[in-house]
């Protein structure tokens, strides 16, 4: 400790009593496993998103009023564009570093969603959602919804032709809700498509949703610290009782700093190599225009896949209608998130372990048969829907009619989840039986865990 730091610290400590809490925080033990870093990747992506987002917000014009673009972009000079789109053209072409920041922001958003999903899978597969962590699991699921809401609002602020299609589908999905559809549209869009979407999404994207996310994320992390981290079994240690790992200072601090630098570096490298967010050719949103080969963003592929794959129908009842769009564009995604919220309780009922004690040990993906079956089946279901969205690209690449590709996926979306889920379940069952046969008298240390 340098004398200056000692002086500052001692002076502050004499007044604020920092020494005790600081020591507790610095000595906090972090168990070591690669999968525990997935959540950290999401955290660092968020930090990068906030930093680049502040830069972008300074140039964005949150309005779709038409203005004449006068910058240097050949494709738009002298043309009338929606204000939001024009401001981003200007940011990309006429502001030094603008395009780079936009690409990093876009890449970080993709990484944010991807790492949040990977983190979710880790929690599900290792059983980290069990008592006493159900509350934090639900906070995590809510965070994922916020992440997706942020990604959706951000993607549509660009106001290009792709955003137009994406907004149109969102509009149709909201409107498909029986009885309250029109009210929902008024609440979100404030009028007929595209409505007041730009200023509203701007407020949501730069203020309301990030504030909610930051607050909930803090709670998420405080609870992780308070409830301590789960860990994998350590040979010769009662890991239910003792946490084995490295302290926050200096080991985990060094590891996390390295990871943060790697995340930043990888995102910067990708921003140079991959034109994530270039949109000159898309052109601005014009009501009535659409493009072939347009798709949702990848994290919405599964919704697009569901709308595309499942056959269309409309059921009319007196006073309202239940449509294909409602069932597969609204109920299905909501149902998936409902399942995520419900899963800790489902497993309590179905699994044959003592769910009323605190579990601090991670299990491996195939340790609990019910869980393995369900998680693998649902993951496969969402994956098949995701891949089904690419049917036009696949059809073109394989030179087969797109209808043939569709029917293949229709069979796949039913058969593959069942097959994979059953295989995972069977494999896990066999593994459990083998282990039970190997050690008939299992020591069960978890019954005497202190609170």
């Amino acid at each position: 400790m340098t004398p200056l730091f000692r002086f500052v610290f001692d002076t502050l400590d004499a007044r604020l009593r920092l020494r005790g809490p600081a020591r507790e925080v610095l000595n906090k033990v972090f168990p070591k496993h690669w999968s525990f870093l997935l959540g950290e990747v999401a955290l660092f992506s968020f930090v990068i998103l906030v930093l680049t987002g502040i830069f972008l917000a300074m140039f964005y014009r949150p309005s779709d009023d038409p203005i004449v673009y006068t910058g240097s972009a050949e494709l738009f000079r002298g043309r009338t564009l929606p204000g939001a789109y024009a401001s981003i053209v200007e940011l990309s072409h006429d502001v030094t570093g603008g395009l780079l920041f936009r690409r990093i922001h876009r890449g970080a958003a993709y990484l944010f969603v991807a790492s949040a999903l990977a983190h979710l899978l880790r929690i599900l597969l290792t059983g980290a959602f069990r008592r006493p962590r159900e509350v934090n699991t639900h906070i995590g699921t809510t965070l994922l919804i916020l992440v997706i809401a942020l990604a959706y609002t951000g993607q549509n602020l660009v106001f290009d032709l792709l955003a137009g299609s994406s907004l149109r589908i969102g509009y149709a999905t909201l409107g498909s809700v029986p009885l309250i559809g029109e009210s929902l549209i008024m609440a979100v869009f404030g009028g007929a498509y595209p409505g007041q979407v730009v200023p509203r999404f701007f407020a949501l994207h730069v203020l309301i949703l990030p504030a909610m996310l930051a607050g909930l994320l803090t709670l998420h992390l405080v609870l992780v610290a308070r409830q301590r981290h789960t860990q994998f079994p350590v040979k010769g240690v009662d890991a239910q009782r003792y946490v084995v790992g490295a302290p926050l200072w200096p080991s985990q601090f060094a590891a996390s700093t390295t990871l943060a630098l790697v995340v930043g570096g990888v995102l910067a490298a990708f921003a140079v190599l991959v034109p994530w967010s270039d949109f000159d050719l898309h052109g601005p949103l014009v009501v009535g225009h659409a493009s072939n080969a347009g798709h949702a963003e990848w994290w919405l592929f599964y919704v697009q896949g569901a709308i595309t794959l499942f056959p269309a129908f409309d059921w009319f009842f007196p006073g309202f209608a239940v449509t294909h769009m409602f069932v597969f564009g609204t109920v299905l995604p909501l149902g998936l998130f409902g399942l995520l919220y419900a899963y800790p309780f489902i497993e309590r009922r179905l699994a044959d372990y003592d769910a009323d004690i605190d579990n601090h040990l991670c299990s491996r993906p195939l340790d609990v048969p019910v869980r393995a079956g369900l998680v693998f089946a649902m993951t496969t279901f969402v994956t098949v829907l995701t891949v089904a969205t690419t049917n036009d690209v696949l059809a073109r690449g394989l030179r087969v009619p797109v209808e043939a590709v569709m029917w293949t996926f229709r069979v796949g979306v039913v058969a593959l989840p069942l097959l994979v889920g059953w295989a995972a379940y069977a494999r896990a069952r066999a593994q459990v039986r083998r282990r039970q046969a190997a050690k008939p008298a299992t020591v069960e240390p978890s019954t005497k865990v202190p609170a």
Partner: protein, 271 residues
């Protein structure tokens, strides 16, 4: 000093070679222009081309064959005939894959054949020639009339029922103009009230601008979301390996939970 003179000597040699090369390559087309065929000979060549490469299906008198794949040529639009010749759809590739007949279908052969067909079979209309246009206007015309099928980047896509929408980048301006006016295959025909001759020039200018888009080091320009998703996959894999590297272990998941024997051993050790 001698080094400088040596350098001068070499550059002088290079200049001579360059001049000779330019002279030789410039000489080619000039010679060809001189040997322009007389009209009768051109007509004869056209007739030979037709009977060698077209007549088997379309008939010697151009009245067409037995099925819809060999339509009658008499009275067809000249632009349609020129379009299928320009895009290489006709004459069809041979079954053994050896290409379109024994000759090279260059501009010269195509023009001779077309002139012959126009004269003999009364082909209608003329070949459109798009004028100079403005890419910024072309982008708007393209978004309105073309993007719904060809995609905003002109990359094409699927059309349903086994039909595919072709990629437009790299086509020559006349081909694009002909297609707009003629409406080949499933494509609708656009009359001058919908897409003016001026607009045709704008569209062509836009497509040229798209082809000239600045690419990244990986030679990528604006990506379809499907290909973007693939790069997100690459990004995810890069991060996964980073996590494995930083966590300092390569095993995905540790071995089974400690067995009873392990626990007993530990307790024995403590005692």
């Amino acid at each position: 000093m001698s080094a400088v003179r040596g350098l001068l000597g070499w550059s002088g040699l290079a200049a001579v070679i360059a001049l000779v090369w330019i002279g030789v390559s410039a000489g080619g087309p000039v010679r060809a222009d001189v040997e322009e065929d007389p009209p009768e000979q051109q007509s004869l060549r056209g007739d030979t081309l037709y009977s060698n490469h077209c007549a088997r299906c379309h008939g010697a008198d151009g009245t067409g064959g037995s099925n819809e794949l060999s339509p009658p040529l008499v009275g067809m639009e000249a632009a349609r005939v020129d379009l299928v010749l320009r895009t290489g759809r006709m004459p069809p590739a041979r079954e053994d894959g050896s290409g379109q007949g024994d000759i090279e279908w260059d501009d010269d052969n195509r023009e001779v054949l077309l002139a012959h067909l126009t004269a003999v079979f009364d082909l209608e209309g003329s070949i459109p020639s798009p004028e100079e246009g403005e890419a910024a206007v072309g982008r708007e015309v393209f978004a309105k009339h073309c993007a719904a099928c060809h995609g905003y980047t002109g990359d094409g896509g699927v059309g349903g029922a086994g039909a595919f929408v072709p990629r437009l980048l790299g086509l020559d301006p006349v081909t694009v103009a002909e297609a707009v006016r003629v409406g080949p295959f499933q494509m609708p025909r656009f009359a001058e009230e919908q897409v003016s001759d001026q607009d045709l020039g704008h569209i062509v200018a836009y497509l040229e601008e798209v082809a000239a888009e600045e690419a990244t080091l990986l030679n990528l320009v604006e990506l379809n979301p499907v290909f973007l998703a693939a790069f997100v996959g690459v990004l995810a894999i890069a991060m996964l390996f980073s996590c494995l590297w930083i966590a300092g272990r390569v095993t995905m998941f540790p071995d089974a939970a400690p067995t009873a024997a392990d626990a007993a051993e530990t307790e024995g050790g403590d005692a």
